[in-house]
């Protein structure tokens, strides 16, 4: 009956909305989130930002120091991503259904990647802080582990998607395992892999800021330093520099992506 369908649909929607509302209230209670204060803080933050959060002439003097830290963060992100990509390539070849050596080995490599992917970079940073201390290497390895897990998954999907047919064809002609990998799988998936690597670099610069805050290195630490000492004008300059760097890298990687894909 037509009327019943609509009535049922309405009931379902209503039940869903009620459930959503109940969960929202529960979430607000346990997180102690104050909705009124939350919404009131938006205009307050804008007002405060207009009044204090902009770079002044004085803060511009700190620009060379900030740029140096930014360079460090950029290099850490790029180095971590590139190194992770090399390992991810290896693992994805062993983990992908089309190119794996055998099912058992494939399951193990995929399992390792899942664990690495699901431990957050912030968690890695806190774990690595014990032995690497406040050096750039803490951030480097945290980003490396996070990127490794993610890129392995992305590369595995790329290989599965790109090379099913050609691998079969080459197998039929009697090509060896290594010639299949180097002549077919890698060349045909390299454009997409580069695209993933570029995305990862963008993401890692953002994460590097967070890791820097936690581990005391790079641009995140610089921001924290000025922020904690209430030098908001200089802190805002750091934000501006980060935004500029990320937008620039996004632009460059969009260009590369457009040409190669």
């Amino acid at each position: 009956m037509q009327a019943d369908i609509f009535a049922k649909k309405k009931r379902n929607t209503l039940a869903f909305l009620l459930l959503l509302g109940a969960v929202t209230i529960l979430a607000m209670i346990i997180t102690e989130y104050n909705a009124l204060k939350g919404f009131a803080s938006i205009p307050k933050a804008i007002q405060w930002g207009m009044a204090n959060f902009y770079p002044t002439a004085e803060s511009l003097e700190k620009l060379p120091v900030i740029l140096e830290k930014l360079q460090e963060t950029l290099l850490v992100s790029i180095a971590a991503t590139s190194a992770a990509a090399v390992f991810a390539l290896l693992f994805s070849i062993f983990g992908s259904n089309t190119t794996r050596v055998n099912a058992f080995f494939g399951a193990i490599t995929r399992g390792i990647a899942t664990v690495f992917r699901n431990i957050d970079v912030a968690a890695w940073a806190l774990i690595l802080l014990f032995s690497f201390g406040q050096s750039a290497l803490t951030g480097y390895f945290a980003l490396f582990f996070g990127s490794f897990g993610f890129l392995t998954r992305a590369f595995t999907e790329t290989i599965d998607e790109v090379s099913g047919g050609s691998v079969e064809a080459l197998k039929a002609t009697g090509a060896g395992y290594f010639s299949i990998i180097f002549q077919s799988v890698i060349p045909s998936s390299i454009p997409q892999m580069i695209s993933w690597i570029l995305f990862m670099i963008e993401t890692n610069i953002r994460s590097a800021t967070l890791i820097g805050l936690l581990t005391g290195s790079g641009i995140g630490f610089t921001f924290n330093l000025y922020y904690k000492s209430l030098a908001y004008d200089t802190a805002s300059l750091v934000v501006v520099v980060i935004i500029a760097a990320i937008l620039m890298i996004e632009y460059a990687s969009n260009y590369v992506r457009k040409v190669i894909l």
């Binding site: 102690e32 014990f130 935004i243």
Partner: protein
């Protein structure tokens, strides 16, 4: 933390799969750019290693130390400064933060997503909103949270507002792309029959993309959980992330970090499995 977000952002071009021809010239632009990119990355990586501030760190020592630590962390976890029940409650707090951010983000993103979809609004409005999204995404989440913390004070309120920004940016992009997939003819037919903009939105646009929206929103929830853990650690937002930060920087208790990591890992994997099931269900429905 925002890693997962990227995985879904790349739309994989389907025309690469079968029948990809050999490039006509061995050295066309794509090949050159590919090689140049790889070469640049390699050079920058080597330079990075050369320029790192190692602070007189003995690399081998630190590496071996890390392996020893990882062994302690993952094989001998314990809870010392709080109980199992407390840890579970803190995980719920983190999930709550993720839920609120996702919900607020989704509500706001539906509105702006409609305006960002070119077939539902004008090209000008769409460009303005898309560049706003690019700006929002360029500022790291932790900076959003800390900026709002000045106005609202450190804690969950600033965290939720600050974290919502990235959710909005991400969901606007996802929603508007699925809105844009709607057939032009459907909109024109409805317009011809005299339906107004809201009627078109509620009767055609949202019903046709609701399954996409649900699966994108849940993916964002997954990401927001990871973000909430990180914000607890970096911006004092509370939840399990804050306990982890305390265990690492305050008590220097590796075994406790191990226990907390297992908690986070368990929730992350449960969410991932759940997301896969939702996706499968939506596909078959």
């Amino acid at each position: 933390m925002e890693v997962k977000e990227q995985l879904r952002n790349v739309t994989v071009p389907a025309d690469h799969s079968i029948g990809q021809r050999m490039p006509a010239k061995p050295f066309n632009k794509a090949v050159i750019v590919t090689r140049l990119t790889l070469f640049t990355l390699a050079v920058l990586t080597i330079y990075a290693f050369y320029s790192f501030d190692y602070k007189e760190l003995d690399f081998m020592d630190a590496l071996l130390g890390t392996f020893a630590n990882l062994k302690t962390i993952f094989l001998e976890p314990h809870l010392k400064h709080f109980s199992f029940g407390h840890a579970l409650y803190q995980v719920m707090v983190t999930l709550g933060l993720a839920f609120l951010t996702t919900l607020f983000g989704a509500i706001i993103a539906v509105l702006f997503g409609l305006l960002a979809a070119e077939n539902l609004s004008s090209k000008k409005v769409s460009i303005v909103i898309k560049s706003m999204v690019a700006f929002i995404r360029a500022v790291p989440t932790v900076l959003w949270v800390l900026i709002f913390a000045v106005a609202a004070g450190l804690g969950s309120t600033a965290a939720v507002i600050g974290m919502t920004f990235h959710s909005i940016g991400y969901l606007i992009k996802a929603y508007s792309e699925s809105f844009e997939e709607l057939d032009r003819g459907v909109i024109e037919a409805l317009q011809a029959s005299g339906a107004n903009w809201w009627q078109i939105v509620f009767q055609a646009v949202i019903p046709s993309s609701i399954t996409y929206m649900i699966s994108w929103t849940f993916l964002r929830f997954e990401i927001n959980f990871a973000v909430a853990v990180a914000m607890g650690a970096a911006a004092g937002a509370g939840g399990i992330g804050f306990d982890m930060f305390m265990a690492s920087s305050f008590y220097l208790d590796m075994r406790e970090i191990g226990a907390i990591t297992y908690f986070i890992l368990a929730v992350a994997i449960i969410l991932e499995v759940f997301a896969a099931r939702i996706k499968r269900k939506l596909k078959t429905a």
